[in-house]
């Protein structure tokens, strides 16, 4: 829509400048390089004109205007620096300082205090006004945030940040007049409020009123490095503040996916990098125990060990396990190392345990391999279907986006989750199907859409394949059948169909509740729903598969997979191979390799003899850890590369100490497909080295000099060989939504989106002796196997000991009360926890957090694999519970 846009011209400090209608005086001043001090304004927040520091004078009328809330109007004559303006600003500042305590010198906010900076810019020192006594620091026990509201200038940035950006609403003004302060509900400490310690408000608070508690290291920042959070698949942009090679704090970046927000893990959980438990020297096994060794010796043992096995048993006796926590460059190197140096396609990464369902499901139906849209598009959806995911703990950025869509844009949320979660209160329709019946439910909704004529006929007939088959396959999924199977009322299914299909744009967000319970069938059934309604990628529509780890997407993109070279080019396809053979100057193995779990099985049966595990801890995080340990112990050589001495490392022949994310360069790819920079802020601890450098050392000791001088050179090669990475090299600057479409287009495989009929197969049917279905999930204050989050001093303080949530009726039946020790037993294993009685679960269902280093719940899961994705179910299983006396 090219239209003649109206231009408004004003005079600003004697110069004519023009802007668009709707711009404020402050916007235009920023654009024209005129400096106006502000305290309550932030481009991320709605402006409220509270502090009046941004006053300017309109010279015709002599009016003093708050420039951050006054729109420009033709002919205005603005002075941003007249004597009256200066006088007024000085007055406002003096008023603020009058009620401000004199503790600037010891205030932790230091140079980041905007009040102090502006005051000194204006030459205001000690204030003559009579001091107004103020309340002191609020006593709170949380280790993250300290509030000293005597320093509060009532700019309401924290309140707006909490309401508008992260939509938690933990704070609002409390009281009147002088006594007004931002407070929580009931004026309670933050830990008893809705606050999730995301750190967003602290970063925006212009004074020392909100500040970080228990900082790992004190000092004045000497360097700020922009990098990417190493925890979840959201991939937040963070600024690391550094001094003396120590991490002082992390602040949210204002670019990227997160736009000034973070979650508690990114904000306060990164001090694991300075943990005293870091491995700083290589270790090798000498007579049964691990002893310190030189790099040369450790690399020798590893390289010669692999060489020996390769020569004696062939390359198929070796296997490599990479990690979704390593960078793209490292995963690419690892893929090349396995294929080119060892000569085997036995390479996989830990995320294949849960991610294959998306790749296969979306790949076969839509031709997409990941999220079809950037997260920012989600806020344009009219309806959001959220299923099998609790983003409040697994992907907080997605939670914020969903809440913003609902609260600020009026989107309607269909929540499918048997458990009550944070988002339940935001939902318009909340369906609670029995665990494992999602496919039946989605098929039921799909059938309802077809039967009621709600489908997007034009899209279905012109742009998709295989509709007839789908339609036939759904015949059995009558409302009646689906109600009986899922326990969801027919009326609600019907309502979901309408809500979803009638929306102009409807988006689907799913997580491991789909991929790890229903597998690729679940994903395909969701893809069918999107196709039926023409929601396969337009802004506001689309499918968002959440990824667990920071670089799940990238590790797979880079070919840390047994069947794909980088860029999902099949190892069995000669043409794909040739491209890499030419580039790497070697010939490549031609048949698909073993998946992570197959490797373990083959190791147990003795066919795999040597393994190289980089950044993974299968001895704890894979199902049946007992069997995995057995497998790993039977290897001739096990080389483990990690930051910490993990359960897997305990079994190793050699351990190579790896650098943390803060100590290396490279890129992570988030769940949206956004390629984010990782930049070095610290030097590697002790003798540890970035994973990439270690892989190069190992390759060279095995006689292969891989020609890369830096991660950047690796990325350049990736860009040539993996088509869609090429466009991402400019990184965040180029990540405007406008370029997104084309990047994704290229990833569309040949042909039309194709309906893939899928059948519901009963899961977790009542088994004798195991009456409960246990669900496991992430908690906000822990992450993954906990190897990093448990070594973050503040997260560790705040994360609970292992607990089991039990519904009230079940607890009564079992004779369990709050705090009781309980033993949870499945057919294959058992674990213990403390009981919590909750009203968020339907009877018959239990919940446990996935990670707690003391007690990993995976012991309960069997290695039985989903036939299509070859991945185990790691989300739910049948158990029984006993009280420990």
């Amino acid at each position: 829509m090219e239209k003649d846009v109206e231009i408004i011209t004003i005079t600003l400090n004697g110069v004519e400048v023009s802007g668009h209608p709707g711009m404020t005086i402050l916007d235009l001043a920023h654009e024209s390089g005129v400096d106006i001090p502000t305290l309550c304004y932030d481009p991320l927040l709605r402006s409220i004109g509270a502090c009046r520091l941004c006053v300017v004078e309109e010279e015709h009328s002599g009016a003093l205007l708050a420039s951050c809330v006054t729109p420009i109007a033709s002919g205005m004559m603005i002075s941003a620096n007249s004597p009256r303006v200066r006088e007024r600003r000085r007055m406002m500042l003096e008023l603020m300082l009058a009620s401000h305590p004199d503790s600037c010198l010891v205030c932790d906010k230091g140079n980041r205090c905007e009040l102090r900076r502006i005051a000194s810019d204006m030459g205001i020192g000690a204030v003559e006004l009579e001091r107004i006594p103020q309340p002191a620091i609020i006593q709170e026990i949380n280790p993250f945030i300290e509030r000293d509201l005597s320093k509060c200038i009532l700019c309401a940035k924290c309140i707006r940040a909490c309401q508008e950006l992260v939509v938690n609403g933990a704070l609002d003004y409390f009281g009147r007049g002088f006594a007004t302060k931002p407070a929580t509900l009931g004026n309670l400490p933050l830990e008893n409020s809705e606050c999730t310690f995301c750190g967003t408000c602290i970063a925006l608070c212009p004074t020392g009123a909100l500040r970080e508690k228990d900082t790992p290291y004190r000092g004045t920042t000497s360097q700020v490095v922009h990098t990417t959070c190493p925890f979840c698949g959201c991939g937040c942009n963070i600024c690391l503040e550094v001094k003396d090679d120590q991490l002082i704090r992390a602040r949210p970046g204002k670019e990227g996916i997160n736009q000034g927000t973070l979650c508690v893990r990114g904000a306060y959980g990164l001090d694991f990098v300075n943990s005293p438990e870091r491995l700083t020297i290589p270790l090798t096994r000498v007579e049964g125990s691990l002893e310190e060794a030189s790099w040369d010796k450790a690399i020798d043992i590893a390289a010669l060990g692999f060489k020996h096995i390769k020569e004696k048993y062939g390359p198929q006796a070796l296997a490599v396990l990479g990690s979704p926590r390593c960078t793209n460059e490292e995963n690419y190197l690892l893929s090349r190392f396995a294929r080119g140096v060892l000569g085997t396609n036995n390479v996989d990464n830990g995320s294949s345990l849960y991610n294959s369902a998306t790749r296969i499901g979306l790949g076969q139906s839509l031709g997409f391999l990941n999220s079809t849209n950037p997260l920012s598009d989600l806020e344009h959806a009219e309806t959001i279907l959220l299923i099998g995911a609790d983003p409040s703990s697994s992907a907080p950025l997605v939670e914020y986006a969903v809440k913003r869509a609902v609260k600020q844009k009026g989107a309607r949320l269909i929540l499918v989750d048997p458990r009550q979660t944070e988002l339940s209160s935001f939902s318009h329709l909340w369906l609670r199907p029995r665990v494992g019946t999602d496919v039946a439910l989605i098929n039921g909704i799909a059938k309802s859409i077809i039967d009621e004529g709600l489908l997007d006929e034009e899209y279905v007939s012109r742009r998709t394949d295989n509709f007839e088959e789908l339609s036939k396959s759904l015949e059995g999924y009558t409302l009646d059948f689906v109600e009986r199977t899922t326990g969801v009322l027919a009326q609600s299914i019907h309502q979901a169909a309408w809500l979803f299909a009638q929306a102009k744009e409807a988006a689907i967000v799913y997580g491991s509740g789909i991929t790890q319970v229903s597998g690729s069938s679940g994903v395909m059934s969701l893809a069918n729903l999107a196709m039926l309604t023409g929601n396969t990628g337009a802004q506001g529509g689309g499918i968002y598969p959440l990824q667990k780890e920071n670089n799940t997407q990238g590790a797979c993109d880079m070919g840390s997979l047994p069947d794909f070279l980088p860029g999902y080019q099949s190892v069995e396809d000669a043409k794909s191979r040739r491209q890499f053979e030419e580039c790497w100057g070697i010939s490549l193995p031609t048949s698909r390799g073993l998946t992570a779990l197959e490797m373990m099985e083959e190791a147990r049966s003795g066919r795999i003899k040597g393994m190289y595990i980089v950044g993974e801890n299968p001895a704890l995080t894979f199902p049946r850890p007992d069997l995995i340990r057995e497998a790993l112990s039977s290897l001739t050589i096990l080389v483990v590369q990690d930051m910490f001495l993990t359960e897997t490392g305990e079994l190793a022949t050699a351990i190579l100490p790896a650098a943390s994310f803060a100590e290396k360069e490279g890129t992570f790819t988030n769940f949206e497909g956004r390629v984010n920079k990782v930049q070095r802020a610290l030097n590697p601890q002790g003798e540890s080295l970035p994973d990439g450098e270690i892989i190069l050392k190992l390759a060279s000791r095995m006689g292969f000099l891989l020609p890369y001088l830096s991660p950047k050179e690796i990325m350049e090669e990736v860009c040539e060989l993996v088509p869609w990475y090429g466009e991402d090299l400019g990184l965040e600057e180029s990540r405007k939504s406008s370029t997104w479409g084309s990047i994704h287009q290229k990833r569309l495989l040949k042909g039309f989106p194709r309906f893939c009929p899928v059948e519901y197969t009963p899961k977790f049917e009542a088994g004798d002796g195991y009456p409960f279905v246990l669900i496991v999930g992430t908690t906000l204050y822990q992450f993954g196997s906990g190897s990093r989050s448990s070594r973050s001093s503040r997260l560790a303080k705040f994360s609970p000991e292992p607990f089991l949530e039990v519904s009230d009726p079940d607890a009564r039946e079992l004779g369990i009360v709050l705090g009781d020790g309980v033993k949870v037993m499945s057919r294959v294993g058992e674990t213990t926890a403390r009981a919590r009685i909750v009203d968020t679960l339907p009877p018959g269902m239990l919940f446990m957090p996935l990670s707690s280093p003391q007690n990993y719940v995976n012991a309960l899961f069997d290695v039985s694999l989903d036939p299509q994705t070859k991945t185990p179910a790691l989300k739910a299983c049948r158990v029984r519970v006993e009280r420990i006396l």
Partner: protein, 172 residues
């Protein structure tokens, strides 16, 4: 665990709010919800029905109106005539205007506090009295003044305080 802490603190004051009470408030909300700024009318109505706004109702009201509980609390705290604590049957207002102040109002306040055994803004556990202070009530000639249950008493002295409120002493 966290949730429980919150609940206990909020309920420490008075009555236990039951499910039925919540239902009743939902009805009040539903009756008043269809207007452009329903929050204040709802709060006033709740206060009228309950004598104060039990904090347990804040999340219920917030949920119904699509607000955050902290926002509802913010509004309540902004208006002097809305309370989240039960009020006594009689409000005792001690004047702290200038005239009363110079004629010993401060001592009167101290005595009243001692008799009622509560601080400013609090209510006696038997819900008989709520103690407040006010700026000048316009009868400076009689200073120091107090108002009990709408009736003004002038020329206060320790003995008169004793007469008016003595029976409550220790009766907490």
């Amino acid at each position: 665990m966290q949730g429980e802490g919150r609940k206990n603190l909020m309920m420490s004051e008075q009555r236990i709010i039951t499910r039925n009470d919540q239902e009743q408030v939902r009805k009040t909300i539903a009756d008043l919800q269809d207007q452009s700024w329903p929050l204040i009318p709802i709060l006033e109505k709740v206060q009228e029905e309950w004598g104060y706004i039990p904090p347990e109702f804040i999340p219920t009201i917030a949920q119904a109106l699509g607000l955050f509980p902290s926002q509802v609390q913010g509004v309540i705290s902004f208006y002097a005539q809305l309370y989240t604590e039960p009020r006594g049957r009689k409000v005792v207002r001690v004047c702290r205007g200038t005239a009363c102040h110079v004629r010993g109002g401060k001592t009167i306040l101290k005595l009243v506090k001692r008799h009622l055994d509560i601080e400013e803004g609090q209510t006696t556990p038997d819900l008989e009295y709520t103690l407040e202070t006010v700026a000048c009530i316009g009868v400076c000639a009689l200073a120091p003044n107090i108002v009990i249950g709408g009736k003004t008493y002038g020329h206060m002295n320790p003995k008169k305080v004793e007469q008016l409120l003595g029976h409550t002493k220790g009766g907490g």
